[in-house]
């Protein structure tokens, strides 16, 4: 993905071609939808520009970090499995599931709060 997708603050690019998807909410109502900036945020996060991605939409870096965390956790779980009993593994799995749910809930709250603050700022300006 890092190879075929690139992005700047304004556009995401697929193999050098600009992806021009216009948000219907932004076009008709002048306000961004919750997923605006998600593609650019994910691509910028994959390229290591977490700060820029966060400014566009926290959902991008949060999704990438969540996926990375899940990937590393699975690698660690695969290593553990041969050395732990079934009961131990059930406990570990339960803990992983709860952590993933908590992370997902927290990420959603941050994402929606950020979107609401953007909308509020725009409404106050107008």
């Amino acid at each position: 993905m890092r190879v075929i997708f690139t992005a700047d603050n304004n556009f995401a690019y697929f193999v050098g071609h600009r992806i021009q998807v216009v948000c219907a909410a932004r076009q008709h109502f002048g306000v961004p939808c919750p997923t605006c900036g998600l593609t650019r945020g994910i691509v910028l996060s994959l390229h290591g520009h977490i700060g820029e991605a966060w400014r566009l939409s926290p959902a991008g870096p949060l999704a990438v970090l969540g996926m990375l965390g899940m990937g590393f956790t699975l690698l660690a779980f695969g290593r553990l499995e041969r050395r732990r009993t079934s009961d131990d593994l059930s406990r570990i799995k339960c803990w992983i599931e709860r952590s993933a749910l908590a992370y997902g809930a927290l990420a959603t709250v941050i994402w929606i709060s950020s979107w609401v603050s953007v909308i509020t700022r725009l409404l106050v300006k107008t």
Binding site: F14, G71, E81
Partner: protein, 215 residues
């Protein structure tokens, strides 16, 4: 400090027998013709309660008659068939969309540009839709994706039942998550069945699924 291999109690390095259970300590050869003379508080050998064997890992599903855990090569061939089908499906989609654009706007540069833009949007969208249909819907409904069906593979849970849609979706999500770990993630996920006792990949372990080769 030497530790008894029988009961694990600590002993002096020079000791020939364990002071707790009386067993001969390893590394100290018995003198020829001389029976071992246990030392310690008790001269009678202690009664050792047999410990139940500890089994590691998760027990697998009940295997139907004639079924075995799918070998790595079968799984890879199934995966390649799935990938080829997705590629072929998308190529057909591109041709249809391309032809549609060419018919509508003629052979001008604007048509080519429009088609290019459409393809860029279509590529991730088509991959997602075909992937979800093949790897989630079909796996939950009949136990195998198209490629797995060709190779007579079946995905089941720990009880031998088909996966639910939610479990199949999490299984796909786990595979995607592993692809976010640069190089090591997808590579280890792909190769894991080579050394795993139940031939599971890491995304199988995430949801406790097993891939069986049906007779």
């Amino acid at each position: 400090m030497a530790f008894c291999t029988n009961c694990g109690a600590p002993n002096q390095d020079a000791a020939q027998f364990c002071t707790t259970c009386g067993a001969r300590l390893s590394g100290v050869p018995a003198a020829p013709g001389q029976p071992p003379t246990p030392v310690g508080p008790s001269l009678t050998p202690p009664t050792i309660t047999p410990q139940p064997a500890v089994s590691y890992g998760v027990p697998g599903p009940p295997l139907p008659p004639g079924a075995t855990y799918a070998v790595w090569a079968d799984r890879v061939v199934g995966y390649l068939i799935d990938s080829l089908l997705v590629g072929a499906g998308m190529a057909v989609l591109y041709l249809i969309v391309g032809g549609f654009f060419a018919m509508l706007a003629g052979a001008g540069s604007s048509a080519a540009s429009g088609m290019c833009c459409m393809m860029i949007i279509l590529f991730p969208l088509a991959s997602l839709l075909v992937g979800v249909y093949n790897r989630v819907y079909l796996v939950a409904q009949r136990g195998s994706s198209i490629g797995q069906g060709v190779m007579k593979l079946k995905v089941v849970d720990g009880n031998g039942n088909l996966l639910t849609m939610g479990t199949a979706a999490i299984r796909l999500l786990a595979q995607v998550a592993l692809s976010f770990v640069p190089v090591v993630g997808p590579l280890l996920d792909l190769l894991w069945p080579l050394w795993d006792e139940k031939r599971q990949t890491l995304h199988d372990k995430a949801v406790g699924s097993y891939v069986l080769k049906m007779p």
